[in-house]
Amino acid sequence: MNAASTSLRLPRAGAQPSFDAVVAEQLDAVYRYLVYLTGDRSAAEDLAAETFEKAFRSWRRFDPRRSAPRTWLCSIARGVAVDWFRAETRRRRREDAYAREQPTELFGDGLPGPVEAALRALAPGEREVIALRVLLDLDGPSAARVLGISQTACSTRLSRALKRLEEMTNDVDD
């Protein structure tokens, strides 16, 4: 599904979407966000399912006037992912060595190798802001809200992440 076309079908804030419609429209976006954040497709799949389960349980509390469904789902996904990161950190410490086979195409289907490698080298927080602003087309305030930081900090983080991505892509190309 094309990200640009997805953004055109986003329900406007304040509308009352159905849960099925939200699932149909936002699942890919949430999955992409989680892939970029975790750097693990398998984990992203599980976390996306968990995210929608949580959203399902708290669907009554969702207020479309306060945020768009995508922003709301990304906030839930972030909380789920943070828990996963904590568990992963503990697991890595326990196992001492983290050597796990990762698929060749992790961050995109048919993404050029240098870009893929550069994305892998970025920190999860850097990939996260790229996913929110570039892939999911969230505006500045929404992305900042998901990240729990100010808009300025969000813009700065995005700028640095893109700069590093460009540099590392060029380095790999060279």
């Binding site: 699932v23 799949e45 943070v82 995109g108 289907d109 993404l111 570039v134 991505l165």
Partner: protein
């Protein structure tokens, strides 16, 4: 193609398996906008205001007429031994002159009457003179008189009177007639049992003294025992003197009644707050109750604030920890 375009063009799509898993979820029907916090706050505020209004309404009930609880008087047999019977303080209406209600004395019993009355008069100085004259004419006296005329305020007089018990009813009636009776409080303490106990102890001590004196007159009494009996005799005489003094005080208390009289100027009384109407009193009481509620709320906030600060610090720490986790 730029890097951003590449990322967008090759964005990963959710696998079919994930679509299938998520599509099985069915949410519960929505209940509409989130109004619960607003409703809870509104209900709490409504309860607080309602409680204040109810409190104001209940405390603004019309004041009772002067009354004494006759059922408590000793003559009715409610109590017969040294008990104190207090009569509820009552306030007289401002407009009407109300007589001081005094229960009839119990015949054959020793009782001490303690009365406090507040009377509103036109001329406090003149009324003070008349009050002391009433006490003197009825065989009593004024134990203390405090009369003051503060600057910019009306005069007030505090008089302590001692009135013979048999005349206390007349005295209270005449003192109440000096002006408008504002409030009265009357307590009657039955002293009969106290007097009987003291008299019994005195009789016993006298018998004991007589026996000791008879024993000491025996010439064959050993010296050591004589000294011992003399000591006991001295102790008994001292105890007898104390009991006699106590009985005298009891008789004196029963013979005279204490009347605390407050004379106040009508102007002074006019400034008093109890001139509010029923609605005014209710509002005043309700506002006071709301102030108490506010104080309790403030106290709760003060108690809760350290916990709130601790929770905020914990939240900030967790947020920083998440940032560190994701930016490594």
């Amino acid at each position: 193609m730029s890097t951003i375009d590449l990322l967008r063009a090759h964005a990963p799509a959710a696998p079919e398996e994930l679509h299938r898993r998520v599509s099985l979820l069915r949410p519960a029907p929505r209940r509409g906008p989130r109004l619960r916090p607003v409703l809870v706050l509104a209900a709490a505020a409504a309860i607080a205001v309602l409680a204040a209004v109810v409190h104001g309404f209940s405390t603004s009930a019309p004041t009772a007429q002067p009354q004494t609880k006759q059922t408590l008087t000793p003559e009715n047999g409610a109590a017969a031994s040294g008990s104190v019977h207090s009569f509820a303080p009552a306030k007289a209406p401002d407009t009407a002159r109300a007589a001081v209600a005094v229960p009839a004395p119990a015949p054959g019993r020793l009782q001490h009457t303690d009365a406090s009355i507040r009377v509103r008069v036109d001329d406090v100085g003149n009324a003070t003179t008349r009050a002391t004259r009433i006490a003197t004419e009825l065989g009593g006296y004024a134990q203390s008189v405090r009369y003051r005329t503060p600057q910019n305020r009306a005069a007030v007089s505090y008089i302590e009177l001692r009135i013979p018990a048999q005349n206390v009813k007349r005295a209270l009636a005449q003192l109440g007639g000096l002006g408008t009776l504002v409030s009265q409080q009357l307590s009657i303490e039955d002293l009969t049992s106290t007097l009987e106990r003291q008299s019994a102890q005195i009789a016993q001590l006298r018998r004991r003294i007589a026996a000791l004196q008879a024993a000491l007159r025996d010439p064959s009494l050993p010296d050591a025992q004589r000294v011992l009996l003399q000591i006991k005799l001295a102790e008994s005489k001292r105890a007898l003197a104390q009991r006699l003094h106590g009985r005298k005080a009891t008789l004196s208390a029963g013979a005279t009644s204490r009347v605390s009289l407050v004379l106040e100027n009508r102007k002074h009384a006019a400034a008093a707050p109890h001139h509010r109407g029923r609605v005014g009193r209710m509002l005043h009481s309700a506002v006071g109750f709301l102030a108490i509620e506010g104080t309790v709320l403030l106290f709760a906030l003060i108690v809760a604030s350290p916990f709130a600060i601790a929770l905020t610090l914990l939240w900030l720490w967790r947020r920083r920890a998440v940032d560190r986790l994701l930016m490594e």
